[in-house]
């Protein structure tokens, strides 16, 4: 198998990093600018995830030392070339944003206004790059001759929905960890309402992902790619598909988030939300696995 574990782990990590950023950006914008901790959290947690993913990719190359050949080309038709540049730009700008935030909060509060402004502009650039990044993780596979990947136009949609869902889940888990580690009043804390709202938003994204998955399956049947579908639904990958994707990534977290809906995110409800998020994250990894491996069988 040409594309094995490093590839699907990378697709999962990059999707989660970009999805978390997109979700944090949208949440912060729509809720007003005071939702401060979300975007830095998504950036600070997302960058290492993306970088680890890239390292996996480089190690998986036949000639890892020559990875720089990638940076000699800019090919619109090659999703891998586009993805290389998108990822590079997203990480680069993300690092600048982190530095600006750090300056703003610690080093030079008197220069704060202009720093904030610049970080604000960059956060807009990076949200477009994040959209490109999570779309690319699906496009990479879809632009190919493997029937499971290329027979429909819905694989990128599926991976994007999963990326946003796993990204939100990662934000929730990060927020809970940060809240535990910091004392009351810290500017890093994420309030309980926001955590509950994110869980609610994730439930809707998961519902969208479920609809996309059903559409993907129907489209595979219509386009005659029933062999490829058979491997997932009834073949050697049936167990991880039904348990990992359908249950862990979709139905279980959907049920848990619905149960937690409308309640304050504390005690048992918070545990329910975190369990749901962990299920989403593991399910997202299994989705990348069965699709990446299944397409090459």
């Amino acid at each position: 198998m040409t594309w094995s574990a490093p590839i699907w782990i990378y697709l999962w990590l990059a999707g989660m990093a970009g999805g978390a950023y997109l979700a944090a950006f949208l949440g912060s914008r729509f809720a007003g600018r005071e939702q401060k901790p979300l975007l830095p959290m998504a950036t600070i947690v997302g960058i290492p995830l993306a970088v680890v993913g890239v390292l996996l990719l480089v190690v998986d190359l036949g000639s890892p030392i020559e990875f720089w050949h990638l940076f000699t080309q800019f090919k619109f038709l090659s999703p891998m070339s586009m993805g290389t540049w998108i990822l590079l730009a997203w990480v680069f700008i993300g690092v600048i944003m982190v530095v600006l935030w750090w300056f703003d909060s610690r080093v030079a509060p008197e220069a704060s206004a202009s720093m904030k402004k610049l970080a604000g502009y960059l956060s807009w650039v990076n949200v477009f790059l994040a959209v490109g990044l999570i779309a690319y993780t699906g496009v990479l596979l879809a632009v190919s001759s493997e029937s499971l990947w290329a027979s429909t136009l819905l694989l990128p949609a599926l991976f994007v929905a999963s990326a946003v869902s796993t990204g939100v889940a990662m934000l929730i888990v990060s927020a809970v960890v940060v809240n535990r580690a910091t004392s009351e009043g810290s500017s890093l804390r994420v309030d309980r309402e926001t955590i509950a709202l994110m869980a609610e938003a994730d439930a809707i994204v998961i519902a969208i992902e479920l609809v996309v998955l059903i559409g993907f399956v129907i489209w595979l049947v219509v386009s005659g790619a029933t062999d490829a579908l058979g491997i997932l639904a009834a073949g050697s990958l049936a167990a991880p598909f039904w348990v990992g994707v359908v249950l862990l990534a979709l139905l279980i977290p959907l049920a848990l988030d619905m149960a937690a809906r409308g309640k304050a995110a504390e005690g048992g409800t918070l545990r329910t939300i975190v369990t749901s998020s962990l299920s989403v994250i593991v399910g997202g990894l299994i989705l990348r696995w069965v699709i990446t491996i299944g397409g090459q069988m």
Binding site: L22, S63, I134, A135, A157, L197
Partner: protein, 266 residues
């Protein structure tokens, strides 16, 4: 430089597999290492057809197909190797530009520049390139560019005893192929077909077949991997930008409105 091509005439091929051996020998490609399971070679199995598929070190192989034609068994041969497509999926997706067309129309992977990412392996509609873990690159038929530039025929063509493989200007081979297909049709083989004339913008390997491509296991309408690239990008971008953005708009905006109506608690 005139566009060059190979022509493979399935009706003349005896499946001696001299081409397979000559290719291995000239290109110094190793044999398929047998994996012995229960005392039997698990790689080179089955019929006369072996190895079972192309690999990083098998760049051409004969494929055998048995077909029932009105109660009579026909044993069909065809050639599996790089088709040197005019619209080459591998070239389009290659992120380093290591894959390119030479002036004469053949497709070459630059072994010095290839980084072994494996994308061409996934993109090729004929499953031709394979990643060589040892060399760290993707490898396939080179059209024996090294032989051709010094005035020799490609190894497989030189080795073919019945003249089922030819190398010449593409326009000449196209005319010969069309003529041969007309003859076959006149002889009653109404499905006879010249494969490669128009597929993927025209292949630089032409196939004279006495039946439809499908019978020979060739895709009738091979697709360019990048054909739907724009649609695939839109699928991802629209889902991200519109559909998954909706719940955040809906929920977080409501939160803001609630807070504002409560007199700006923050």
């Amino acid at each position: 430089m005139a566009e060059k091509a190979f022509l493979y005439d399935a009706t003349r091929c005896t499946a001696c597999r001299g081409c397979q051996a000559a290719c291995k020998q000239w290109n110094e490609n190793d044999e398929e290492i047998p994996t012995v399971e229960n005392g039997v070679d698990a790689v080179n199995t089955g019929s006369y057809e072996n190895p079972p598929s192309l690999s990083a070190t098998t760049w051409v192989k004969m494929k055998f197909t048995e077909v029932d034609r009105n109660g009579r068994l026909s044993w069909l041969f065809t050639r599996q190797a790089c088709m040197h497509c005019a619209n080459a999926s591998c070239e389009n997706v290659c992120p380093t530009g290591a894959i390119s067309h030479m002036e004469d129309g053949f497709v070459l992977i630059d072994q010095e520049w290839c980084i072994g990412c494996g994308y061409c392996v996934q993109a090729c509609p004929y499953s031709v390139p394979h990643k060589d873990e040892h060399a760290g690159t993707a490898r396939k038929c080179t059209s024996c560019v090294d032989r051709r530039t010094s005035g020799h025929e490609p190894a497989c063509i030189k080795a073919c005893p019945p003249g089922a493989l030819r190398y010449d200007d593409r326009s000449k081979l196209l005319a010969q192929g069309q003529q041969r297909v007309r003859e076959l049709k006149a002889a009653g083989m109404s499905n006879a077909y010249l494969y490669g004339e128009t597929e993927l913008g025209g292949l630089n390997v032409l196939y004279v077949l006495d039946d439809s491509p499908e019978v020979y296991g060739l895709p009738e309408t091979p697709q360019l991997a990048t054909k739907n690239a724009v649609g695939q990008w839109l699928s991802g971008i629209l889902t991200a930008g519109l559909i998954t953005a909706l719940p955040f708009w809906f929920l977080f905006k409501r939160k803001r409105e609630l807070e504002t109506s409560q007199g700006g608690a923050r």
